[in-house]
């Protein structure tokens, strides 16, 4: 192997924190220039641009280099993380550069998730600002334990040590308060390059390394995680003779012959081979992408975690988490989302927001919802237990994203703090008489018919007539009416979006119990949102649930106004009224689509009976 092979160089990922005013772009540009990473044609372009911006001076304005995102900013498009690459003799660097003000928290968290080290910039003239605290808090939240504090613009304070020292002291205290012990501080002047790539002549009192030196030598532990863990990404099965589990090891190391357990669960086996395209390995460790084979047939699928049998990962389905909300729509407690962690995706909902956290002061504030860029401390509930680690111990098994089930956007990132109670402690009580037995004794197939539509659309009227009809035919039914339930089960809920989500969730769970009891349940609730109706649908097995869209136009509902509610809503006496100042998301493909304006009640009931109960069943 040739000595200059850069595979021998290590890789450092870092993030720069600071706003345009702090000279972040200038510092980054200067760093690239000093490391000799700017090609001639780029320097030439920069010289031209600099001359245009500063006609009187012969300076290189490095801030112009990184402003490729300016055009975007003018177009009002989301600005986010840009990645830059450079190397020195000793190391390769990947810098996550996060410009932008409004989206700063989200972008910085994204950048920080890819970084080992953060460079925090402070303007020497201003000292620590609320944003310094915010940057440091986000670093701490995302688990960055090493920070380089660059006190910039020293040239504007006469390179005075008396200015630098108190800023350094104050910052070290701030970092300690937020749980970050390792701070390397240095004074720099990005514009002139002092202490960036070369030592400063004007600050002889500073004898430490330059920024580039620091970045080249700062020690980063490969991973905190010592216990062997590998999430299975892909099952490799080219033919009957080979069955391997491909994935990237995210903790510890593993040897051939090691005893492992497949999680969640308790299936044990030994490692037979560690396969790579370059030949089998006797041993592999965190960071390597390998394919493991086992000494016996065990059921392993994508998303499972292969772990050290002696020190398995904990398993749970309820957690306390820190959540950073990234979606345009707010987080609503009890709405269902997909949660992706490792290679596993499960259904999740936030059961409560304990508090939100002001990112500038870390003050804890009461909250019913989380908006874009807000951080909250929440309880989260999964529909399946997962193998996990606290984020502080293992980023790959403790960091997750939430995905909107409708539009598929990534709406949040989060870190697991601890499990609320181990899933293994909560068992389903096994009961001998089950749904099938109960249904058989009633001689019917239990079902849930979910009537959705605007207030006054005629949901209850149709359902009421249908129930009379079914009852006469000898079926066992129950009608759950949204309005009636609000007098009892849901009397504590109002009409905000959050309350509507919870309202529908409770109704859906009750309907589910009644179907389990063998009944045919007719549910009448406005249920204005897709995601709650989908939540309800997902509680039932295939064919058990039918969405009935009672499609009466708003004008008609308003004209009827049987309870006088539209009049009050228009008068501003009640708020959050569906169709007036709160949205109704119409079903996309309901099982039954009724148009009360066009057909008679009897026709609609007939349609329901025939659609939902095929002839053989009647």
């Amino acid at each position: 192997m040739v000595a200059t092979d850069d595979s021998a160089r290590s890789l450092l990922r870092f993030i720069t924190c600071g706003s345009v005013d702090d000279g972040k772009s200038t510092l980054l540009g200067r760093l690239l220039f000093d490391a000799g990473m700017l090609p001639d044609d780029q320097v030439e372009a920069l010289r031209r641009d600099s001359r245009r911006q500063h006609p009187d001076g012969d300076v290189l304005d490095f801030s112009l280099l990184t402003d490729g995102l300016d055009a975007e900013r003018q177009q009002g498009i989301t600005i986010d993380v840009a990645y830059r690459y450079f190397h020195s003799a000793r190391r390769n660097f990947i810098v996550a550069d996060c410009p932008g003000h409004e989206q700063y928290t989200r972008n910085m968290a994204t950048g920080a998730s890819h970084a080992d080290v953060a460079v925090v910039l402070v303007d020497a003239r201003k000292g620590l600002l609320p944003q310094t605290r915010r940057h440091t808090y986000i670093c701490a939240l995302l688990g960055i334990h090493k920070i380089i504090l660059a006190v910039n613009k020293m040239d504007l304070v006469d390179y005075a040590k008396e200015v630098y020292e108190p800023i350094k002291e104050a910052y070290i205290n701030l970092a300690k308060e937020l749980g970050i012990a390792a701070v390397h501080a240095l004074p720099v002047a990005a514009l002139t390059g002092d202490n960036v790539g070369a030592p400063s002549k004007d600050m002889p009192w500073y004898e430490g390394p330059t920024l580039l030196d620091l970045l080249e030598t700062i020690h980063v532990e490969p991973s905190q995680a010592v216990d062997f863990r590998m999430p299975v990404q892909w099952v490799n099965r080219p033919d009957q003779s080979f069955r391997g589990y491909a994935g990237t090891i995210c903790g510890g190391r593993v040897k051939v012959g090691a005893s492992i357990v497949v999680q969640p669960g308790a299936h044990r086996a030994h490692i037979a081979r560690i396969v790579t395209a370059d030949g089998d390995l006797p041993e592999a460790h965190a960071g390597q992408a390998v394919t493991l084979t086992l000494d016996r047939e065990v059921d392993v699928s994508r998303g499972d975690v292969i772990a050290d049998a002696g020190r398995p990962a904990p398993e749970a389905d309820q957690f306390a988490v820190h959540l950073l909300w990234m979606g345009d729509e707010p987080l609503l407690p009890n709405r269902g989302y997909w949660l992706k962690i490792g290679a596993k995706t499960v259904n999740a909902r936030v059961t409560s927001i304990k508090h939100k956290i002001d990112v500038n002061t870390q003050a804890q504030l009461a909250a019913h919802r989380l908006q874009l860029n807000e951080v909250g401390y929440c309880n989260i509930d999964l529909d399946h237990p997962i193998a996990f680690e606290a984020y502080a111990d293992n980023h790959a098994l403790g960091g997750f994203i939430l995905i909107d089930r409708q539009n598929h956007a990534t709406v949040a990132c989060g870190v697991l703090d601890f499990d609320l109670h181990r899933a293994t402690n909560v068992h389903w009580q096994h009961l001998d008489v089950d749904k099938e037995v109960r249904a058989r004794s009633k001689g019917q197939h239990p079902k849930c018919l979910w009537f959705t539509g605007l207030s006054g659309a005629g949901k209850s009227t149709v359902a009421n007539l249908l129930e009379r009809r079914l009852s006469r035919l000898g079926y066992h039914t129950y009608l759950l009416d949204g309005d009636n339930l609000r007098h009892g089960l849901n009397r504590d809920l109002g009409f905000t979006a959050e309350a509507r989500v919870e309202n529908v969730r409770r109704v859906a769970e009750v309907a589910h119990l009644m179907v389990d009891a063998g009944l045919i349940v007719l549910v009448c609730v406005i249920s204005p949102f897709h995601s709650e109706r989908d939540f309800a649908r997902n509680l039932f097995v295939e064919g058990e649930f039918a969405e009935v869209y009672v499609d009466t136009p708003l004008e008609e509902c308003e004209r009827r106004d049987p309870k006088g509610l539209y009049r009050k809503a228009r008068a501003g006496e009640i708020s959050n009224f569906t169709g007036i100042d709160s949205p109704y998301e119409a079903p996309v493909s309901p099982e039954v689509h009724l148009h009360p304006g066009e057909s008679s009640l009897e026709t609609m009931v007939e349609e329901l009976v025939s659609h939902v109960f095929p002839h053989a069943d009647r």
């Binding site: 040739v2 200059t4 092979d5 850069d6 595979s7 021998a8 290590s10 890789l11 090609p39 001639d40 044609d41 490729g68 995102l69 055009a71 498009i77 989301t78 986010d80 993380v81 840009a82 990645y83 830059r84 690459y85 190397h87 390769n92 990947i94 968290a109 994204t110 998730s113 890819h114 990404q233 892909w234 490799n236 099965r237 080219p238 080979f242 391997g244 491909a246 994935g247 990237t248 396969v275 790579t276 395209a277 370059d278 460790h285 960071g287 390597q288 992408a289 994508r302 997909w338 992706k340 290679a343 980023h395 790959a396 960091g399 994203i401 995905i403 598929h408 956007a409 990534t410 990132c413």
Partner: protein
């Protein structure tokens, strides 16, 4: 013995992770194969990621009919190895209209024979994920591109619908008709690519190595006359020059650099001393009406 502390080992493992995530999460993935050095590295990683199984996705080459002849020969050699299926797609409509970079210019040619052709192929085969070899260090607007880049049903890149990417957790959920482009080499630099080619002894098209070739100086670029479709303008003459290519594309649109580097070691040494950026030789990037940003929104890589 592999110590796995180095840059290349990390980059390789991360790329393999991305390949596996695509294979596990999409119905019908494809790897876009453009025959260049980045594609050679991609193909190598594709094979590694799924070893000992054969790669679970085909390669797609969008042939503009103006590629260097040596590229096509190289592609056919790869196809002959037989472990991966190579699909070649040509925009026949463009061929019928006689679209040519020499007549219609770089922008129209690239749009019709590359961008439109790619969309045709993706629609024809119903691919829902296309792996490409783009790197973030290539160009300013690519510096912020995602590893999994979301495209709507019209294959357009909508900046507002790109998803934040944290850790190595990729959101692979799409609706029917939508697709993603995935870029396993996002974090590689041009230098990493060459070091990796050297370390892994990956074959590349000989055009990357210096040789005496028939060259015409046109609009400041050294264009190689690869076949008789190239018509000389007045005052132009063919000269024999020792050149090589840093990137490969359609021959009338790809400028050579004067160089004597004829081995990988010499290329790496030349690059270490080099002071110009990689895409400088591409004619299309200099066309002011066709910024990379706009091409990307329209579905170009």
């Amino acid at each position: 013995m592999n110590q796995f502390s180095g840059n290349l080992d990390q980059l390789e493992a991360e790329s393999i992770h991305i390949f596996r995530e695509v294979a596990a999460s999409f119905q019908r993935p494809v790897m876009l194969y453009s025959i260049g050095k980045d594609s050679s590295v991609l193909l190598h990683l594709l094979r590694k990621a799924f070893y000992p199984a054969r790669p679970p996705m085909p390669l797609l080459h969008v042939d503009t009919t103006w590629k260097f002849r040596e590229m096509i020969a190289f592609r056919d050699q790869v196809a002959a190895e037989g472990d991966v299926q190579v699909i070649v797609h040509i925009n026949e409509d463009g061929v019928r209209k006689g679209i040519s970079p020499l007549v219609h210019g770089a922008t129209v040619h690239t749009d019709v024979m590359k961008t439109v052709a790619l969309k045709q192929a993706l629609d024809k085969y119903g691919f829902d994920a296309a792996i490409g070899g783009a790197r973030r260090d290539e160009e300013k607007s690519r510096a912020k591109e995602r590893v999994f880049s979301f495209r709507n049903a019209q294959h357009r890149w909508d900046p507002k619908r790109q998803r934040p990417e944290l850790w190595n957790l990729y959101n692979t959920h799409i609706h029917k008709g939508e697709s993603v482009r995935a870029f396993p080499l996002s974090n590689w630099t041009e230098m990493d690519v060459w070091h990796y080619i050297r370390r892994e002894q990956i074959p590349v098209v000989p055009l990357y190595f210096a040789k005496t070739r028939p060259i015409v100086l046109r609009d400041g670029a050294l264009i190689m006359v690869d076949d008789d479709r190239f018509v000389l303008r007045e005052d132009e003459k063919i000269e024999q020059r020792t050149v090589r290519f840093r990137t490969l594309g359609c021959y009338p649109l790809t400028g050579a650099v004067e160089s004597t580097a004829s081995t990988i070691d010499e290329i790496i040494a030349e690059m270490a001393a080099s002071r110009t950026s990689e895409r400088q030789g591409r004619v299309i990037d200099h066309d002011p009406s066709a910024s990379m940003e706009r091409k990307k929104q329209e579905g170009y890589f």
